[in-house]
Amino acid sequence: MATENDILLVEKYFDDELTAVEKEQVMQRVAMDVQFKTLFDQEKVLIRAIRHQGLRENLTFLKTLESNIDQQTPASRSFKWYYLAAALAGTLAIVTFLVNRPDDPQQLFQSYFKPYPNVFEPTVRGTEATTPRAEAFQAYEQGDYAKAAEQLEALYVQHPEPEVLMLLGNTNLMLGHITEAENNFITLNHEYDGLDVPAQWYLSLCYLKRGEVQHARTLLKKIEGTENSYASKAKELLEKLN
């Protein structure tokens, strides 16, 4: 059983809060003390997972950006169209980065939208998806949103479950299908229990994406008043919108 002091020591090691001598002492203990090595390796693997998650989120962000660029037709890539789109405050994420306004709803959407993690049936590396449900969830996890949309939609028809609807809504948001996403989250909020607050959070992001700031505010205020983990994010976003 690891002692509190050992945990603290390992944490300090990875947080770079030890001197060179102290670090050397930690490495000596890792080499000699099996229990301490276990604790050390555990911390290392946890930080590895955290970094993996961060990289994956940024990769998803770049993929979304790429699909938005891809959605432009060749004709629309002309200089004139590009800036016309910007002037119209279009829905393309690319515009978000050109329009450098900190409280721009599009930019806020981009900063705050992170796809809901597949906590329902996480894919285990090395195992193949054998059921339509596992395949759909795997496509979602791998960021293959076009495939995920098709499979989740079919799955929802057969098995109308809240978790399927949650991932489907997120998939539609990723693909820029805002109306479909909005409908998914409204259904999730009204007809099911358990995922109400996350559904409201994503619904508020749909409104933000559309530029319907007042609708987004109303929902965010509702979330802010809850004790859910989304409350702090809602508060932060509200402050930026005000």
Binding site: I50, H52, L59, F61, L62, Q110
Partner: protein
């Protein structure tokens, strides 16, 4: 903008800066990589996305503080390494698998001593951790934000509160990891 100003902007910014860099060099990179390595447009995009991730990560990790060449040259260098490494592993040109690449990228830096199955348990534990803990520890360990920056962006009273919260989140994560490891279907003969 000067090359080193770009680095500073990325270091202090976030995804918006990542997007700006992505778009700025995208067209030229994609033309170059498809010509140089005869890869499809989609494969080129996959490599470019990983290239941008490494560039961003190197700045965040403090591995890249000053550029001696242009951003473009640096990016093309990373892209070339990714393409060559992929060809070396596969012995011939094969489309890159981003998911495998990400796993290997974080595995390489943690070196010996960690096991793939433990990594999977850690990922599951992280998902179960929920918000705001996930965001907080990601800002600290991935984005490499200081405790003061985290306190400000997550609206904690001060640095001390943010630091305490970070320690609590890590303690919770360790507990969730242990739960994952001790689940009957996950219990194997391992060192932990």
């Amino acid at each position: 903008m000067l090359q080193n100003e770009i680095i500073e902007k990325i270091r202090s910014g976030g995804q918006a800066e990542l997007g700006v860099i992505y778009e700025e060099h995208r067209k030229e990179f994609l033309q170059w990589i498809s010509k140089e390595y005869h890869c499809s447009s989609d494969d080129g995009k996959d490599i470019y996305q990983l290239t941008i991730l490494i560039f961003y990560d190197n700045i965040r990790q403090g591995k890249l503080e000053h550029l001696v060449s242009s951003v473009k040259t640096y990016l093309f260098g990373i892209g070339k390494n990714i393409a060559l490494e992929n060809m070396r592993k596969e012995k011939r040109y094969t489309p890159i698998n981003q998911e495998t690449w990400l796993n290997e990228y974080v595995a390489d830096e943690s070196g010996q001593g960690t096991d793939d199955s433990f990594f999977e348990f850690a990922k599951k534990a992280l998902v179960k951790l929920g918000q705001p803990c996930q965001q907080l520890i990601e800002l600290f360990y991935y984005e490499k934000k200081s405790i003061a920056e985290i306190a400000s962006s997550m609206h904690y009273k001060n640095g001390e509160t943010a630091k305490n919260q970070k320690c609590k989140c890590m303690a919770r994560l360790r507990k969730l990891f242990e739960i994952e490891m001790t689940k009957p279907q996950n219990v194997v003969n391992h060192g932990y």
